[in-house]
């Protein structure tokens, strides 16, 4: 056997046995490299350039002079972000709106997730299905639907006017209120699903044990259920918070002209002002802002895995 030449199939099997794991992990990473890391580096590069009336509309980072490389790094964009209060308040506003939305989503999502996790088998799948159902329609269409609901001539106003509850239409669209509605509505499933999965795994006898040891139901919840569902709360909150900070579509379509969020600022710099370097530095700064909570989350998660929870 050993002296014979291995067949193609055998060679393939041997290769897969040896390198299969590397391939399985490597391919997605290659994909991420190509379509995330490289574009990121390009944006990073642009953020260190200066705007020019040219094609492309920014200065080159590397210029070739007499067989040498001349690197021109311009930190001016970042300094500009700090000096102009527009950017700082856009960042702070984004974080504020995202944080408030996250809290509202958590307050609505937690009881829902709890209810679903404690529901009987078949009902539970139906309820879960209903949480996921909105994903079958495009996100954009669903936000447009909210315009139809919240508008001056929208559904709510029409209903209230017809019932005679109000005499003047309520201004709901193009307010921060509408932005909260949009974000909470859109990201609620991202809160419910991780919460559901932690709550569903939780042993009901733990709550019974707490009751048995003298806790009233509310206290049993605070002392046992809540701390044990922390991983779900964290995961859900970050899944809502992170994309909310950079949200563009919802504030653009539902928010008013005063709803200043970083996503819109970025869009304006890029498309209205055609200032690619500033737009790029806004994007990089936002990324840095968000890396901190992500790293923190990772840290907590590894700690919990070490604790075997």
């Amino acid at each position: 056997m050993s002296s014979e030449k291995p067949t193609l199939k055998q060679r393939y099997d041997r290769l897969m046995l040896k390198h299969g794991r590397v391939l399985v992990i490597g391919l997605p990473y290659l994909w991420l490299m190509l379509f995330f890391l490289i574009p990121f580096l390009i944006v990073l590069k642009i953020s260190f350039a200066t705007a020019e009336y040219a094609q492309p509309p920014y200065s080159a980072l590397f210029t070739w002079i007499d067989e040498g490389v001349n690197i021109t790094i311009n930190f001016g964009n970042y300094l500009f972000l700090l000096s102009d209060s527009l950017y700082i308040s856009a960042y702070l506003n984004s974080i504020r709106i995202a944080a408030i939305s996250t809290v509202i989503t958590l307050l609505i999502g937690y009881p829902m997730a709890y209810g679903i996790a404690r529901a009987q088998g078949s009902l539970r799948s139906v309820l879960l299905m209903m949480v996921i159902l909105p994903f079958w329609t495009s996100f954009l269409i669903r936000v447009y639907a909210w315009i139809g609901i919240l508008d001056r001539e929208g559904l709510i106003n029409a209903l209230l006017l017809n019932l005679g509850i109000i005499s003047e239409p309520l201004i709901m669209r193009q307010t921060e209120f509408a932005v909260y509605i949009g974000i909470v509505y859109t990201y609620l499933p991202f809160m419910i699903l991780p919460l559901y999965s932690t709550l569903e795994k939780m042993d009901v006898s733990l709550i019974e044990a707490a009751l048995d040891l003298g806790c009233k139901p509310w206290k049993a919840f605070m002392k046992v259920t809540l701390p044990l569902s922390m991983p779900g709360i964290l995961a859900g909150s970050l899944l809502v918070f992170i994309p909310s900070v950079g949200e563009f579509v919802i504030p653009e379509l539902l928010g008013g002209p005063n709803t200043l969020m970083i996503g819109r600022t970025l869009w304006n710099e890029f498309f209205a002002n055609r200032d690619w370097p500033i737009a790029s530095s806004v994007a990089i700064a936002m990324l840095l802002f968000l890396v901190v909570p992500i790293m923190w989350f990772q840290h907590i998660q590894t700690k919990q895995e070490e604790n075997g929870q």
């Binding site: 019974e208 044990a209 048995d212 040891l213 929870q309």
Partner: protein
């Protein structure tokens, strides 16, 4: 009551046998308790008295209603009908967190986010005891279950046996009137289980609490309990001390459930004041019983014969024509301490006999295909009519 008095009170349960004393006041009382889940009767009209200091076992297979009964005592389920009293107080509408009971869960249900110490202290904090007192009680309790060394560990850093001890400590530390144990040793391996059985009994003797235990393991119930209720399909089939249940089963069900038994069907042919004779086609012979049997002649009865009460002989006994069945050794199981023989009787019925291997160097006396006679004393058989 001092520790010594408590311990004495407990030991006395076996001697005083309050269940045989009509004057004795039961500590826990189930009065016609029924629990329905939908159309299913989990517990069907159960009445039961349990006395102070007992270690009472509810024994049965899965779905027999034993756990539901325990959970109703803990307050996790409300009876559909009937009443439950603990120490004279009607438990109807009393929530779990106000009952004088604590439960040791089958899964132990230790709080994974708390240390051993915090787990044990949890119930005491709910009572609002001062911190210094909690510390003393917790450390005393951890010493009792020999877990002092592990006080700072989290549950996932403990072995199964250690978790079991923490769960016990946590449920005992509040000094409940009744400790409920749901399959307390179910998650332990055999060796550890046997050792822990005795430890649990010792701890119960030390603290003097009334224990109510649910188990599916008849050996566990026999070793530990003062009395056992054998349950099936939501009803108590028999109630008694381990001895009573083993020696005087009231039905084929309990005879089968506790230990091993040969059940032989027969017809009553002669019933006197002092004795009875039963003819069995199953066994192919006449069976002599040394007491009267309640039943008319011709009635169908079952004889329960424990394998260890049977003897094997190589020669046909000449002194009697009763209780002597011939057959061939079909299978032999050598278990070290004893050997099990399966004998195929001439009637075709297979009977099981165990014999102790009480000395070394002696080859088993019987081998496959040997012709043997199975005999027993007149008092060894119990007669069942259901």
């Amino acid at each position: 009551m001092s520790q010594g008095a408590l311990q004495k009170a407990h030991e006395d349960v076996h001697k005083t046998q309050p269940w045989n004393n009509p004057e004795a006041v039961p500590f826990i009382r189930f009065e016609n308790v029924t629990k329905k889940f939908g159309d299913f009767y989990a517990v069907d009209d159960v009445s039961l008295d349990i006395y102070r200091h007992e270690l009472f076992a509810l024994l049965g297979g899965s779905g027999c209603g034993k756990t539901t009964l325990l959970r109703m005592l803990a307050g996790f389920e409300e009876p559909t009908a009937g009443k439950i009293f603990i120490d004279g107080v009607d438990m109807a509408g009393v929530p779990a967190y106000e009952r004088p009971t604590n439960m040791m869960f089958q899964s132990y249900a230790l709080f994974p986010h708390m240390t051993v110490e915090q787990n044990v202290a949890f119930g005491l904090h709910q009572d609002g005891l001062p911190k210094s007192e909690i510390r003393t009680l917790v450390s005393d309790m951890l010493a009792l279950v020999q877990m002092t060394k592990f006080a700072k560990r989290k549950p996932h850093q403990l072995s199964g046996g250690q978790r079991q001890r923490v769960a016990l400590a946590r449920s005992l530390v509040k000094k409940p009137k009744v400790l409920l144990l749901d399959e307390p040793l179910g998650a332990l391996d055999k060796k550890l289980r046997e050792q822990t059985q005795f430890e649990l009994v010792n701890i119960q003797e030390k603290v003097g609490t009334t224990f109510v235990m649910v188990t599916h393991d008849q050996e566990e119930a026999m070793t530990m309990a003062s009395r056992i209720a054998v349950m099936n399909e939501g009803v108590i089939r028999q109630l008694g001390t381990p001895f009573e249940l083993y020696e005087y089963p009231n039905s084929r069900f309990t005879a089968n459930f506790l230990g091993q038994v040969n059940l032989i069907e027969g017809t009553l042919v002669d019933d006197d004041e002092k004795y009875a004779v039963i003819h069995s086609d199953d066994a192919g012979g006449e069976i002599y019983i040394d007491h009267a049997v309640q039943g008319h002649e011709g009635a169908t009865l079952w004889i329960a014969l424990r394998p260890e009460r049977l003897r094997l002989l190589t020669e046909k006994p000449t002194d009697t024509k009763y209780n002597c069945l011939s057959g061939k050794v079909e299978e032999i199981g050598y278990l070290g301490g004893l050997s099990t023989y399966h004998v195929r009787l001439d009637s075709g019925f297979r009977i099981k006999v165990t014999e102790p291997n009480s000395s070394r160097h002696i080859e088993p006396r019987y081998t496959w295909e040997d012709r043997v006679w199975v005999t027993w004393e007149a008092g060894a058989a119990s007669v069942l009519n259901q």
